[in-house]
Symmetry: C2
Subunit: 134 residues, 2 copies
């Protein structure tokens, strides 16, 4: 069985490629404008590729910004839960990994008799680079 990333279709590869080569998250219509020369003509083609890439964990959505970012972790298992550090100055994004977040949130949820399934965490502030400059 091949890796999911090897089974990508043309549109999916095109969208993933532009996300992987971006230093910050991209919006769907930014992606669309950037790849129209590659045969993608409608928003739906972009959204469908994004949906699939999100489903297999190669791309995550930054909800608060309606943006999409390629996952840099090999075999990322954050297909549902995601945790990000988002720089308010340069818009760069770092993904937090590790299961301690999962167990921490499970406990927080339990306190409220809530059954944890998944989460989305967005931490805003200044990244290392921008901290030094400002």
């Amino acid at each position: 069985m091949a890796l999911a990333s090897e089974n990508l279709t043309k549109n999916q590869k095109t969208v993933l490629d532009i996300l992987e080569n971006s230093s910050e998250p991209l919006k769907a219509y930014t992606i669309l404008f950037d790849i129209q020369k590659k045969g993608i003509k409608s928003p739906l083609q972009v959204y469908r590729a994004l949906d699939k890439l999100i489903e297999i964990g190669k791309v995550h959505k930054i909800e608060s910004r309606n943006s999409y970012v390629a996952c840099k972790h090999e075999g990322c298992n954050a297909k549902t839960s995601t945790s990000f550090l988002i720089c308010e100055n340069c818009d760069s994004v770092t993904e937090l990994t590790g299961n301690n977040l999962f167990s921490y949130f499970s406990k927080q949820a339990e306190k409220n008799n809530f059954n944890y399934k998944k989460h989305n965490l967005e931490i805003f502030g200044l990244c290392e680079n921008c901290k030094l400059k400002n």
Copy 2:
């Protein structure tokens, strides 16, 4: 000095009122349709009221759902950072409080040389009621 909530204008009060009487988060256009009889005719009037209510901490936005929820905590200081438990079955929302989240996230950020400013956390799962039913 009066409470911020006592200084609300007519539109702001109208929007806050409908949110406070809802058992789940509402979307901006749902609010608009529900209060057109009260003199609010355009989306912008709703969004402006929401912006102000969010600014003073009476309302929070659920980013992943483009919805808005009234804050139930007196003098809520979550003007910027928010943490929610969101039931995937009934869409009810519970806001997490307490500063332990803040300190926990600060530490997580520090590990990545990131300067924490604020956060948005959305935990999805089943609330107590729905847990029992399913």
